[in-house]
Symmetry: C2
Subunit: 109 residues, 2 copies
């Protein structure tokens, strides 16, 4: 019996399931777009309406609204209506952690 052999069967058993991999990849797809990252970064600092975000990032309402729909669909943001405006805020604190680790990683080089 060789010493440094790798037990492929055990590794195969210990791998995450297809469905979890799929969901995790979808989660990180959200964080892979600059516009969405900027939106999440802004919402980390304050709740904001579409107009606020588009002027902050100097982008069209339409573009921001499309991305916010994706964030809504992924349940990463929640909404609150005030008069004509819809205020967006972050739904949970995983988002904060994910952005923090990402920033840490790219800054350590």
């Amino acid at each position: 019996m060789k010493e440094k052999d790798i037990d492929m069967t055990k590794i195969k058993e210990d791998l995450l399931g297809e469905d979890i991999i799929f969901e995790v990849s979808n989660l990180y797809k959200v964080f892979s777009d600059e516009t969405r990252l900027k939106i999440l970064n802004a919402l980390l600092l304050s709740e904001l309406c579409v107009y606020d975000i588009s002027s902050l990032l100097e982008m069209s309402h339409s573009s921001i609204s499309h991305q916010l729909k994706i964030l809504r669909d992924m349940r990463l943001v929640k909404t609150k209506k005030k008069g004509k405006s819809v205020y967006y805020s972050l739904k949970d604190d995983h988002i904060q952690k994910i952005i923090k680790i990402g920033v840490e990683h790219v800054c350590e080089k």
Copy 2:
């Protein structure tokens, strides 16, 4: 002075810089693909060569090799040559954390 006003100027100042956002988005782009996630997940369990990974994931060498190049370029994996084979392993522990948080997030629903 209204009470619930938002200080947009301060938020704009506190936003992460364009370059950091760009790098973080590139980092998470890596984790947004199922194949790469599976590769990283496997390397979390053991160092492996291209052949091992392609048989483990039941995918072509070429596809795996292409993705490993991306992981190399992003400096997420390191390589070690043993005879004809090239063994890959993870370069740092951020990867573990990122996968863990992702799994946590998608499992809490």
